[in-house]
């Protein structure tokens, strides 16, 4: 598998007020051609910023270190027409279609703008392609929809328009940034199924950003988990549920409600999520981690390979297989066992 996208040690700082705030620290991930990678984490963990860095959509004045390579080009070095070409090859499906589609332009304008401006496709031909794309995402009477304005369509319909539009320009990579979060549950499932189908048909690579571990597991080949601006684990998506490597991933898996039984009380991770700039030194998850030792708090953790995955935890090998065991209560006994 050759990597289409390779992100190495990506660190992003944003200017907030007068000071620089770190939002991502040393993110590393790669996506192969045709692969779907899930990116999971709580709000503020740096998922969206990672996507923005890949599409070069960070606000002006953002400090970026590390490297992003896409289809053989150094993305961070691009400018001008080359940068625009790169953006055209990376399609973004945003979270809130109503805000992300210009409200005063017709659906046809929105859908065909790229084709007509960048590829000089004649109007009639662009319209036919847009209508076909709408049909593909399950919107009937596309001719009428093309003439309508965004406010005349429902949220689910608009997100399908957004997906259809993203695919129209034949991108190499799809960045789906919480693209179903703003929709209600049934619409969510529909939109997700359409997105998954179309992506597989085209063999398109995707970075799927979500805070829904389950959803990521269903549509992705591999999943990366982010915490406080760092990738803490990358594993095969189906394995993450059964055999998480990082205590944070395990806590996320445990925190999701079980659909087969009625839980007395949902398991929550103690403490609150932190952002990269306020993270403690050493392991960033240590203050909330039931397995943390003193050495965790004092040493910076590095992303290391373990089995087929990667994990940012020095105790991962020791804790392997015990993270999900409810009888395993992390107490002093564990510490002595380790020592």
């Amino acid at each position: 598998m050759s990597a289409l996208l390779e992100v190495r040690d990506l660190t992003v700082r944003l200017r907030v007020g007068g000071s620089d705030r770190e939002v991502i620290t040393g993110t590393t991930l790669e996506i192969a051609e045709g692969e779907a990678m899930g990116l999971v984490g709580e709000s503020g963990s740096g998922k969206s910023m990672t996507a923005k860095a890949i599409a070069r959509l960070l606000p002006a004045g953002a400090g970026v270190e590390g490297s992003v390579h896409f289809a053989g080009t150094d993305v961070l070095a691009l400018s001008g027409a080359d940068l625009r070409r790169h953006r055209a090859k990376v399609a973004v499906v945003f979270q809130d279609p109503r805000a992300h589609i210009n409200p005063v332009r017709r659906i046809e304008d929105f859908m065909t703008e790229s084709l007509r401006t960048l590829e000089d496709v004649p109007r009639a031909q662009a319209r036919t392609r847009a209508a076909d794309a709408l049909e593909e995402v399950g919107i009937d009477d596309p001719a009428r929809r093309l003439r309508q304005f965004p406010h005349e369509l429902s949220g689910g319909m608009l997100q399908r328009v957004m997906i259809a539009t993203a695919l129209l320009s034949r991108p190499l990579l799809l960045l789906a940034d919480e693209c179903t979060t703003a929709l209600d549950v049934t619409t969510q499932a529909e939109v997700m199924a359409i997105l998954d189908d179309l992506r597989r048909d085209r063999g398109l690579s995707m970075l799927f950003i979500t805070h829904d571990l389950e959803l990521a597991g269903a549509v992705c080949d591999r999943t990366s988990v982010m915490y406080a601006g760092q990738v803490v684990e990358t594993s095969a998506a189906d394995r993450l549920h059964a055999d998480p490597l990082h205590p944070y991933s395990a806590a996320l898996v445990q925190a999701r409600p079980d659909v087969t039984s009625t839980a007395e009380r949902l398991v929550a991770i103690p403490g609150r999520p932190v952002s990269a700039f306020e993270a403690p030194s050493g392991c960033r998850f240590a203050p909330r981690c039931p397995h943390a030792l003193d050495s965790c708090r004092s040493t910076e953790q590095v992303l290391t390979g373990l089995d087929a995955g990667r994990v940012r935890c020095e105790r991962a090998a020791t804790l392997r297989g015990r993270l999900l065991d409810p009888t395993e209560s992390p107490t002093e006994s564990e510490e002595t066992a380790d020592a």
């Binding site: 959509l57 945003f94 809130d96 805000a99 589609i101 210009n102 005063v104 703008e113 401006t117």
Partner: protein, 315 residues
């Protein structure tokens, strides 16, 4: 669309009816009489007075006179100027061209200058933006009569580039005579439109849909034109419309300052001469122009923003 036009048409007629009544009634209540202006302060003999009153129907009850004036006005006959013994419509016709050209040229300056400067300030942060804010602040603080004096001194007297007084003959010469008055009249409004454009464009630049356009790899110029400016055009049009409507009334000051033979200057002169019919006529024309401009703004607004449903608008 048709329903909207019909309703707006009905509102327009109602507005004009009220306005015409106010214009006619106010002058009727004003001190002095047209006869006094005509006779130059001497007391005419009772016979002459009766003769004059009968000729100009001054003895009729107020409502009858208003009705006669209004029905004639609808057909384009605004009555007779008593001191000049001339048709008011003719008098207005001779001057309306100057005022219309002045307002048109001023509007052009306001739109091009205001939108241009505002866009410049919004897109180029730093010293350029500071410059735009500075220029617009100075310009906003300059009432048109003060701007008139400054412009006359600078371009007319010092530099001698442009004529300072008069209307001029022929197209090119008339235009030359209109440049300074139009600049003086535009000063405050350009600043207003600049500020509104700058704010609207800034706001639009931060919108998510603009980010979408950027993320699709569209050239910056087309993002600005098709998404930023296109959407910012909605508030800009509103403020341009209101500004242009107000110019119609403000033109009086500038026309007087530059000795232009336009409607505004003539309105002031007629009021001083107690030429009631002319004052009523010009006022009515100005009101019509104001109301029609506002109607056009509303129409443009609905055309620019598809979310405004034409048929169901309450106001």
């Amino acid at each position: 669309m048709l329903r909207f036009l019909l309703r707006r048409g009905a509102m327009l007629v109602a507005t004009l009816l009220v306005a015409s009544f106010a214009v006619y009634g106010a002058l009727d209540l004003a001190p002095g009489s047209p006869i006094a202006a005509l006779t130059g302060g001497r007391t005419p003999s009772p016979e002459v007075l009766a003769e004059l009153n009968a000729r100009y129907h001054l003895d009729d009850p107020f409502l009858v006179r208003y009705w006669n004036w209004l029905t004639a006005a609808v057909t384009g006959d605004l009555g007779q100027s008593i001191p000049l013994r001339e048709n008011v419509s003719t008098l207005i016709g001779q001057r309306i061209g100057v005022t219309a050209s002045l307002v048109a040229l001023t509007s052009l300056i306001i739109v091009v200058g205001g939108v241009g400067l505002g866009l410049l300030g919004a897109l180029r942060k730093g010293p350029v933006d500071t410059g735009v804010v500075l220029v617009s602040t100075v310009s906003a603080a300059m009432p048109s009569f003060a701007a008139a004096v400054v412009l006359q001194f600078l371009f007319g007297v010092r530099l001698g580039w442009l004529p300072v007084l008069g209307t001029g003959t022929g197209f090119a010469d008339s235009l030359k005579h209109l440049v300074l008055p139009a600049l003086a009249l535009a000063a405050t409004s350009v600043a207003l439109v600049t500020r509104v454009t700058r704010t609207a464009v800034r706001e639009e630049l931060d919108k998510e849909h603009v980010q979408t356009a950027v993320s699709r790899g569209l050239p910056w110029s087309s993002v600005v034109r098709r998404h930023v400016l296109r959407n910012a055009a909605i508030p800009i049009t509103t403020v341009v419309g209101l500004t242009v409507a107000s110019l119609i009334a403000l033109s009086a000051v500038v026309e007087t300052a530059f000795g232009l033979n336009g409607l505004g200057a003539y309105l002031v002169q007629a009021a001083l001469n107690k030429d009631f019919a002319v004052v009523q006529g010009i006022s009515l024309v100005l009101v019509v122009a104001f109301v029609v401009t506002n109607l056009l703004v509303d129409l443009a607004y609905a055309l620019l923003d598809p979310r405004v449903a034409l048929g169901s608008r309450a106001s």
